[in-house]
């Protein structure tokens, strides 16, 4: 998607630090919403990135998880829109969700949260550490991918071969190597008076990259 989630380098959001510095969340529903999202789709990223830009930018963080969970639940046929709305009416008049204990579901959740599932090593990476690569330019308004706009068309170098995994944005069974690519801030943002040069690393799948001649 080419959505509002792609925030690197966007201005107008003000300062970062807030009064609630240490807090992870404010209200008890927030982590519940995130937990529901993780239960109804294999990955929530496409569902969150698919929110239209005004909605994305005016919905708080865990609100976006909730919207993603609702949409994925309905789109994946897990609950109907009608069932959801019926429950919304019941909750609105004071009812609470049924309290259900289910050892199997609880154990599965705990297992998923605590058991490592590392990605595989890249078997045949096309690029080697040190290779000069350029990030492809794309236009994919409707398909999930993970290429931040701020590095499109920018040349960097392979800093690490991370492994191989399902590539974001393609058939979810297609496995592909991905890399950490190192960029110079000057190549990304141009010459700057306000910040000394720095380094930016972005992790990118192989098919997002093309060989570039070393500068």
């Amino acid at each position: 998607m080419e959505g509002a989630h792609d925030l690197g380098g966007i201005g107008g959001f003000g300062s970062v630090r807030t009064d609630d510095g240490e807090l992870a969340h404010h209200e008890p529903w927030e982590l519940r919403a995130q937990s529901l999202a993780s239960a109804v789709c294999r990955g929530a990223r496409p569902w969150i990135e698919g929110l239209d830009p005004p909605t994305y930018l005016t919905t708080p963080y865990y609100g976006r998880w909730l919207l993603a969970a609702e949409r994925a639940s309905v789109a994946n046929g897990i609950v109907s829109r009608a069932t959801l709305e019926a429950w919304q009416r019941r909750i609105r008049v004071g009812e609470s969700p049924p309290v259900v204990r289910d050892d199997r579901l609880r154990s599965r959740q705990a297992h998923a949260m605590t058991t490592p599932s590392p990605i595989a090593s890249a078997r045949q990476p096309f690029f080697a550490v040190g290779d000069s690569v350029r990030v492809k330019r794309i236009y994919e308004p409707n398909r999930h991918h993970r290429i931040p706009r701020y590095v499109r068309g920018v040349t960097g170098s392979i800093e690490a071969i991370c492994g191989e995994d399902n590539i974001a944005g393609h058939d979810s069974n297609a496995v592909e190597p991905f890399y950490t690519v190192r960029f110079s801030s000057g190549d990304v943002w141009g010459e700057r008076g306000d910040e000394a040069p720095f380094v930016i690393h972005v992790d990118l799948w192989q098919s997002y990259l093309e060989s570039a001649v070393s500068a």
């Binding site: 380098g9 992870a24 609702e70 909750i91 609470s96 309290v99 289910d102 579901l105 490592p116 910040e195």
Partner: protein
Amino acid sequence: MSGHDHPDDDHDQDHGHSHYELPKSRRARSEFELRTLALEAALTEKGIVSTDSIDAFIEIIEQRMGPHLGAKVVAKSWVDPEYKARLLADANAAMAELGIAGAEGDNMRVVENTPLVHNLVVCTLCSCYPWPLLGAPPIWYKSFAYRARAVAEPRAVLREWETELDPEVEVRVWDSSAEVRYLVLPERPSGSEEMSEDDLATLVSRDSMIGVAKAISPTSRN
């Protein structure tokens, strides 16, 4: 969390009391809260989730995971050069030595601060974060401002934490855009030479492992 240790039917409904206690006297349910509870209700009915599977998610991310584990890893690497070498070479194996593992930390990489290098972790596209080592991310990490500015003006962001770097220090930003999660290994602060590993862990703030701050100076605390 209660109710996890006594035997139950596989999917045991109990409408008699609510596990999810609302502080009703304090505030009304917000629209997001209402909709979250409605979705929870619908998914519980379908047997997709249960009250205690959601509680387990929250318990694990809030209680078991957290910056105390990141601090443990960092403190150990400060006192044990061989552990540090293993941590930088294969973070997951080194974490496993201390029994640390889990979702959103399956593919960890630890990046080391030095007198000439300062690292900063962000996720511009969402808010990827190393849960097993740091728990749930702080609100500012998930803010649009941090996601927008960390990759474009990192030194300006660091100044909001009064983290000033010498001009010759190279700032390295890590945008967690794929499946790797990053943790910063902060520099061991001067004045901490005599401290035990457990005491050292108290100097390792969450913010120093994201990279917006340095480790806490023991002299500044006295």
